[in-house]
Amino acid sequence: MKRHVRPYGDTTGDGMVQTSFTLPVPAGPKADGAALQLATKMGIDPAMVVHSRPIGDGFTFFVVYGSVRHIVDLDDVRVVERDYPLLPPAEVNTALRRLLRRKLVVVGACIGTDAHTVGIDAILNIKGFAGEKGLEYYRELKVVNLGAQVSVPELVRRARAEKADAVLVSQVVTQRDAHLLNTREMSAAFREAMGERRPLLIAGGPRFDPLMAADLGVDRVFGRSTTPGDVASYLVHAVRTRKENP
């Protein structure tokens, strides 16, 4: 694979992209010019405003096509690489037993006012996701699923009571950065309440960027299409790492 790539429309290197947006300006040539200016600032050059449509009196919606100047440097791409092996359930169980000699306790919840449990249930419930059984299926895991709209103090209380090794929180609503605010509040609360002895903190949800873990004060972030196996394997890895570097 080449190191430097550009978007591909129908020819290598043509750089073609599509974009759409609304500007708070009345439709007309001036609006089209404004759209063109924005596209140019985005690096689309030449840009074609191929569609503009008034929305009410004060807004115009645009579709723009064109070639972006930018070059993607694949060597510069930062991703959270899976730095641990994907293990089948049996190996997860064996590894955990060897490491802990007791069940690993996982407490899960949708925190804040978020009530989207389907995602965390997909990870925790036996039923699972994408053909993989959820964490409840693992013999060496004890799963406590607190469900939806759990407040942070309540979560800390329950985690402490259950002696949680890992706390898994889900955040699906992202408007006004709700997911970021709630997750930061959660990690701060655990730090405050337990300091170094806090459980592993794992956040997940479809709009999270896995690169944000440190920024959010959690150990790991999982994004869209996560499977239970991803999480179980990570747990083994994290427990082992904690044990090796206490």
Binding site: T22, I55, G56, D114, A115, Q149, Q175, A178
Partner: protein
């Protein structure tokens, strides 16, 4: 024209079983009151506003009063008598003065007896009647506006959501949506509101994924829509949510501010907000009586089951829930034409013939409830970040709605899996719907499900499964069925859930003039 050839005896059986299954729950609802029913009563009696001096933030006066009454003399007799008795005793000009005095710790509530009781009852009844009269006036005013401005020119009516979290931005979006063709505007609530045991106050600007339902926000939006209604030459309806812990109060506020439709499901709060089942059924009954009085169309929430359960496997649970919702609604005084029963286009689009299965389900609902303004909900669960594909799916959703004669169409958004809708999403979505309705408007005349074809067979199958399930529910009890995860796979035991401590068994001398007046309504 009936296309499915449903067996009238099977249909009758289904309705009977639903009524039977509902019976014990109705009895439960009649035997209890809740803090919210009592607060709603006081709102009808005229209390507005909040205690802004409280350290935990604004506390509505109705909460202060009801909490205090509960403390002083319990709620099993209803709040009306102690409150109106205190009003007279303390010789206060208004209920707000009473509330202030309550907050200041100057009032001691007691249950009046003898003539005091009669006086208090009369005063309460008079105040509440005034409240109900406002509701009646709003209903009449709506009728007048509809007569003057007109209803949408065609079915289905187009129902659009705004959800910015800020009432002022909502107004911008709602106005533009109406101009672009929306017939109904729903203001989605902030994520947390349903679990609040009070109704926030004033105009609000900081909801998450929705805007708080407050009396003032209702007023602002209704006024904005009245304005735009004139501009576009048809009456634009306003929707909000009578659900959550304050369902009865919100129903009252909706009646007072002339909202036109309300999301109001008999089990949604239990299943999707983990609210105590008894609390929900009690609040439900009262709020539906208020809606009946206000001429408000209720929208039920069967669509939600299909986001947590599979739309094919669980199709019959939708039918069962519709039958139950319809029965509960009738029992609370709502006629068919106010029954916006919900259902949704949520079958996995990868399933072969998924579109035809949708047609079967949608047609079944249509033929079971021929006079109800069915609300047809767009795909959400199987929408993805592929907004192009989502736009297509939404088009087929509309087509299914059109072919099966749905009444209210919640317009699907291509960004369903991404963000709460952008201004442009709404505009694009309306363009989508308009194309389908305009280009294929009459296609219903050419849609004749083959007599032994997939659609007819599927509809019969679902109805059959619904009857079977209803039979089991009659045997086991509805509360147990809910506890077992029958609906949306959510397991909610009757004793669990939030707000259980707000449920109070009525004493024999329980009195609530609001309840009585509503019960007596034609």
């Amino acid at each position: 024209m009936a296309l499915l050839d449903l067996d009238p005896q099977v249909v009758a059986k289904a309705r009977e079983l639903a009524a039977k299954a509902a019976e014990p729950v109705v009895a439960l609802a009649k035997a209890h009151t809740t803090v919210s029913v009592e607060r709603a009563t006081l709102r009808l009696a005229g209390i507005t506003g909040a205690d802004t001096t409280h350290r935990a933030g604004d506390v509505p006066w109705v909460n202060r009063v009801v909490d205090t009454v509960r403390e002083h003399c319990g709620l099993e007799h209803g709040v009306a008598l102690p409150v109106f008795h205190a009003l007279r005793e303390h010789d206060l000009p208004t209920l707000t003065d009473l509330a202030e005095a309550t907050a200041a710790g100057q009032v001691r509530y007691t249950l009046p007896t003898g003539r005091d009781r009669d006086r208090a009852r009369k005063a309460a009844t008079a105040a509440i009647t005034r409240g109900l009269r406002t509701v009646d006036r709003n209903r009449a005013h709506r009728d007048k506006l509809v007569t003057k401005l007109g209803d949408p020119p065609r079915r289905p009516w187009l129902y659009l959501i705004v959800a910015t979290g800020d009432i002022d931005e909502d107004v911008v979006q709602a106005r533009n949506a109406a101009r672009a063709g929306a017939d109904v505007i729903a203001v989605i609530r902030s994520t947390g509101q349903s679990l609040l045991d009070y109704v926030p106050e004033g105009a609000t600007h900081h909801g998450f994924a929705g805007t708080y339902a407050t009396q003032e926000n209702f007023r602002i939006m209704r006024a904005a829509l009245d304005e735009v209604s004139k501009e576009v030459g048809r009456y634009i309806r306003l929707t909000n949510y009578a659900s959550g812990l304050c369902m009865p109060e919100i129903a009252v506020l909706a009646g007072l501010q002339r909202l036109d439709m309300m999301l109001n499901d008999s089990m949604y709060g239990i299943l999707f907000r983990d609210i105590n089942p008894v609390r929900t059924f009690v609040d439900q009954r009262f709020s539906r009586q208020v809606h009946a009085r206000a001429g408000i169309v209720i929208n039920t929430g069967e669509d939600n089951y299909l986001t947590t359960a599979d739309a094919v496997d669980a199709a019959h649970t939708v039918t069962v829930s519709q039958l139950l919702n319809a029965h509960f609604a009738h029992e609370a005084g709502l006629p068919d034409h106010l029954l916006g029963l919900g259902h949704a286009f949520e079958i996995n689009p990868e399933i072969p013939e998924s579109f035809r299965l949708e047609l079967a389900h949608a047609l079944l609902a249509r033929e079971l409830f021929p006079d109800a303004p069915l609300k047809w909900m767009p795909p959400t669960k199987h929408m993805t970040g592929d907004v192009f594909h989502g736009y297509l799916l939404d088009g087929f959703f509309t087509l299914a709605g059109l072919l099966t004669g749905q009444s209210i169409l919640l317009v699907g958004m291509m960004t369903e899996a991404v963000v709460t809708p952008f201004l442009s999403d709404r505009d694009l979505a309306l363009r989508n719907v308009r194309y389908v309705l305009n280009a294929a408007g009459g296609l219903r005349e050419d849609f004749r499900p083959a007599p032994d074809g997939l659609i007819v067979r599927r509809a019969h199958q679902v109805l059959g499964e619904a009857v079977d399930l209803l039979g089991r529910i009659v045997d086991d009890g509805l509360l147990d069925a809910i506890a077992d995860g029958t609906f949306g796979l959510m397991k909610r035991p009757a004793t669990g859930g939030r707000g259980a401590d707000g449920v109070i068994a009525k004493a024999d001398d329980y009195l609530n003039p609001a309840a009585d007046l509503l019960e007596a309504q034609p």
